[in-house]
Amino acid sequence: MSKAYIRKNFHEARWDEPMIYELSTRKTRGILVPEVEDEIIAEVGDVASYLPENVKRKTPLLLPEVDQKHVLAHYIHLTQETMGANVSNDLSEGTCTMKYNPRLNEALSLNNNFAELHPSQDIETVQGILEIFYKFEDIMKEISGMDKFSFQPGGGNQAVYCAASVMRAYHESRNDTKRDTIITTIFSHPCDAAAPATAGYKVITLYPDEKGVPDYEALKVAVENIGDHLAGIFMTNPEDIGIYNSNVDRFSELVHSVGGLCYYDQANANAFLGVVRAREAGFDMCHFNVHKTFGTPHGGEGPACGAFGCREFLNKFLPKPTVEFDGKKYYLDFDRPESIGKVRAYFGSSGVILRAYSWTMMHGAEGLKEVAAVSVINNNYLEKLLLSIKGCGEAYLGNGITRQEQCRYSWEELFQDTGVGTDDINKRINDYGIPWYWASHHPWVIPQPMTLEPCETYSKCDLEEYFETLKIVAEEAYTNPEIVLSAPHRSASHDIANPEDLNDPAKWALTWRAFLKKHGDQYVKVK
């Protein structure tokens, strides 16, 4: 008997909160800074005169002017209007590895001994955090089989960009400058195409075979067509639809045979921690999304880190500085003449590394393996439940391949039957206290997609709550589709009025100033 609790009477806070700029009243202040005392003025003169003319603003800074009470209320209201991580059943976010972030690690990162450090400090005074960087690098090396890591990239995409840069530096170091094309697969994370494209590479994407596995025959033709223009391959495995490519070593072998390099995007590493390694699969480089897989807060809740690793022959190209140990003390090595340079300031997001080091040490080697095993079991249990719902299918249903840590489902049948699609279901589950789920990267390849990733920290009850809620919503689609189509009814904000406007750059406004510029004439001031 399931103990799953369905939140049928859920209601999210709705504050109808104005923008902070709309709360602004001229000359209101949150803190009154004391005037500079006369003695100080007499001693130092006009402080602003120390600044060069070209860095001084000509016009005052346009900041909202709001008192403390209303600033506090405003942001608390906004937090109440979200269904944040750790407080809701957020297995919704497939491909994002949303897992519980232990409070102990949060406490560590708030500890003054750590929180007050600055990356510009003399290294003699930061030996502790450098030691943690160094030891965490050892752990990364062991898990992946790579020989050297950099924690400088500020996320997965940046790690992939870093890899594209290292790939080019390697080929150029051999005077092999015509390699201008990379290969990726359609269900790899889209950054495996986008980041190399940003770095200037042409991209060829492989579609899967009839079972949903990257098509080896297509790779053979692509490799032959590209010939000595092939710089390398960038791929995720398991891919974002949760299917593991067990031919992966043949892929790397083929790419190597024509002089290309192989990059393993390990964004989905929760499926194989302690089970398989990039090195044994034949890869030259890889990255981990430390902020996902290693238990640190993710996305809007915290900074990220794309730990980038490579084999020894690529070590010299890594971003600088690297963290080293001379047997007595830890230091930063800037003396790396063939380095691709910096991809970000300093040497990595230390808050992420600290938490991830603690998380990994709590689990130990066997614990990491268990993380992978439980993730896969959770996913397969949820898959069996969800596929029993009328109208719910999945990508490559019935292909005989066991799914790994996530699944890409499809509501196509439900959509054809009822006109209720995945976007509608996604809004309706909010009415039951479940956060918005990840449909798919764009463009959608699988029709009406839904991607769920129930990591190891979700209980059986969490999985069953999720299943029961989706089942209720799917039944509503058949019996009362209007209630789903007009959802959400109980969440903080209603639907987007004109979703197609999202395709129109003329209407986007990412700042208040841009908003006034583009929509100022239609905007009715609150005050």
Partner: protein, 374 residues
Amino acid sequence: MVKKIGIIVNPVAGMGGRVGLKGSDGEDILEKAIQLGAIPECPNKAVVGLCQIKEYKGEILEIYTYPNEMGEDEVRAAGLNPIVIGKIESGNTKSADTTKAANDMYDIGVDLILFAGGDGTARNILDVVGEKIPVLGIPGGCKIHSAVYAINPKSAGKVVVKYLEGKVKNLKESEVMDIDEDAFRDGILKARLYGYMKVPNENKLVQNMKSGSAPGEDAALDFVSRYIAFSLEKDVLYIMGSGSTVRGVMDKLGIKNTLLGVDLIYNNQLIANDVNEYTILTYLGKYNKAKIIITVIGGQGYLFGRGNQQLSPKVIRKVGIENIIIISTKNKMNSLFGKPLLVDTGDEELNDELNGYAEVIVGFGESVMFKVVS
């Protein structure tokens, strides 16, 4: 401002499907369908779509339609009041009635024609309105290959309401396919690009668009056509195939294009418009190097043999398989998902050589590998 909509129902569309006749084009087939016990399904589907129009909340809406089973009955069944125009011989409607209805509605100046039918109905309407006014189809035929239809009857009604209320503003060119139903009944699918009509661009509810809110098709087409226009080689004769994707490249080059035909260009200059096989072969004799640029036709996935028969086996061999450049958009390729690209050059040996995998350029420096079969 008064909004005007035209409704045309092809009462016999789709009748062949249930009785296994694959289509109802041709009067003898229709008779056969009726003998086999076929009942009209298109009218019911039309009613389902039209019911959605009751949800319209905009300004005054005038609904123009043709008498009895060609729209009047369905509009009334949906609880709406039509303005009935034209004359028909009830129980014996023909394709000419569809054409006439479209013509009358065009003259009245309707904002959009909503029609229920199949590929044949779409062709009849295209003959009259072309791309001059927007249309949308309620899928009523038994096997629809054109892309001017909503994904189901209900969605058709919804899209029209959104369009009339001004919530969907953009229009997109969509393919109307010409299916040889005689051949189709014998198990051979012969589809050819017949032309384009403009339909409301509502990604989720209109056919052949499985993608969500990704960048629009216009932007995608812009990337591909810029890339191709940018990377054309000097001193190469380019044989430009039919379809709107290839036209995008020609637009970038500022060269006049034949949408449903083949054009020749050389060093960014037009050599000839709308050429036949003979002309292409003549020019191939004059130039040392040539390449063919073609696109993937609609939701079919055809590369050769549908609407570009000028690119004959002789032409393809002369140019060389390695000199075929295929261009498309990501959305178009994804709408084929699970289906391969198809070739039907009429030459089995050449078909075999084209089989395997082809690279399709889908963006600026971006391409995909796709399976090709014949």
